[in-house]
Symmetry: C2
Subunit: 353 residues, 2 copies
Amino acid sequence: MSKFWSPMAKRATTYVPGEQLNKPNILKLNTNENPYGPSPKVLAAIQKANDDDLRLYPSPTVEHLKEVIANRHGVKANNVFVGNGSDDVLAMAFMAFFDSENTIRFPEITYSFYPVYANLFNIPNEQISLNEDFTIQPEDFYNSDGGVIFANPNAPTSLYLPIEAVESIVKNNPDSVVIVDEAYIDFASTSAVSLIEKYDNLLVIQTMSKSHSLAGLRVGLAIGNEELIEGLIRIKDSFNPYPIDRLAIAGATASFEDENYFQDVTSKIIKTREWTTKSLKEIGFHVLPSATNFLFISHTEASAKDIYEQLREKDILIRYFDAEKIDNHLRISIGTQEEMEKFVEEMVLILNN
Amino acid sequence: MSKFWSPMAKRATTYVPGEQLNKPNILKLNTNENPYGPSPKVLAAIQKANDDDLRLYPSPTVEHLKEVIANRHGVKANNVFVGNGSDDVLAMAFMAFFDSENTIRFPEITYSFYPVYANLFNIPNEQISLNEDFTIQPEDFYNSDGGVIFANPNAPTSLYLPIEAVESIVKNNPDSVVIVDEAYIDFASTSAVSLIEKYDNLLVIQTMSKSHSLAGLRVGLAIGNEELIEGLIRIKDSFNPYPIDRLAIAGATASFEDENYFQDVTSKIIKTREWTTKSLKEIGFHVLPSATNFLFISHTEASAKDIYEQLREKDILIRYFDAEKIDNHLRISIGTQEEMEKFVEEMVLILNN
């Protein structure tokens, strides 16, 4: 700890970057990236924007991109906020809607960044236990003092909470903001975006890092009532008015405009996910019903940590969490069909060993 | 004000975006952008990175880019922090080194974002008057309770504070952080980077938006003692671990590697700045000695606001500040030689009108 650090810097959580193996031919199934590249139209749009105009500031309001996103979701441009990846949007949402006087709630097992934000901004929080089967108990989130945040589908469990249950949580918190983090919603079913007209306290956050194959471009978004969006804009404009660069604006816009490519890629991943689920069940794994681009699995006779380590020796990276209640589970990102066939083959070998 | 906004969102300053005229052939001398595009090597590097790998997360630590910047500045990679534009770096520096218990100081006339950050993060602040000639009085910044931030060269005054005076401020604040915001240093002379080995409380912030012709790419940086850089990294990793996208990493790296192009462009702008200064003086303007890519000027017989409005009607945009003490001054970004010749011609016509 340095004497020059603020109390905020002192309490900030130290970050451990994700595992990277510096070898060729790694099968990387550990960070839920999309195995398919972005739409060729995205690459073309970026190439077109890659010119001398990079000397000029980008649009601080990204109006055109917001309109394209609004069209895609059947909302208005002033219901849309765009940030530098969904982590940036989440951080600004914590700043805009939560505070140090009121306790917020989020699931005990969920995206690991929520406690990090709560800690950074000194927001008191209750971490609510999940049911034994890792499902969320909606009633546990009713009438929260300071607000609610949860991921749907949840991570790393991969489980989707039906829209009726999401609505009940939103409805039963009329005086505080409910943030639904839908990073994986495009691999699931109904988005809570359908509820924003009805509830002024609902903020839905999405990302282009997973279903849009653009983790490398850093674009995330929030959709909600105009007043909530204005709250986010106030924070953004007081922090960094131009967070999305000209190339990211061009690429993100083109990606939302190419709905066919997006649907093709998403369908392929869902199909491979179902095949992988079935194949892993056949060799004795318990596989939670995934509504994401990853699986959360366990095996009664084999240790998760052992499997993780054996796969690692074969240059296959998956995610193992050394954390209470999930330390006998593994999270596996869905790759291409070919990659998952190779993965299942290796799993068979490991189990027979 | 929405009932859902946090105290932070409520006190956030409402942002007024810079003036944009939606017409062709505008001469845009109002936002201090570089009139020359980035190095062709930057465009080539971006094109090379514009591929299917956009599906993958960028490096959260941007190690290679930090090494290239470190080489350029004769420091080590762990003396370098990279953010999403220098506004992002400034915001994180306010979070990492200033707090709500200790009063910071900055000049009364300076980059307009410092009071915005102080307000957002509830940091008490003293805004110190400049001398009559707009110069900074170094002693006024000695022994600050909570820290110091100032721009050098200062904006919108364009004045450079000699390195000895900068050092005296750093030296006389041994227990708090002094941030020197060097957005325009490449058009001036000695950077305070030369002092970071000697002073552990000095943080220097720079940007690629001006001298590197990359306002559209959003890359800013900080250079300082390893402990200060670690403080910034702690905040960044608790906020948004991947703020720089793959294309920005590629472009920024190539720009720092092409020193010749950078020197050529910077020299051209300085030459045009000197020509413009001389020409404006010849027609009766008072021009502050600029160490930036803009001029801060006034005229005893003509109103700044009138000149601004007349230029605007001729599709020439410059910056007028409707603020106490500077409301008879104008800020003019340096364009190409040709653009500045046109600008001076129009100024002559306006004065003779």
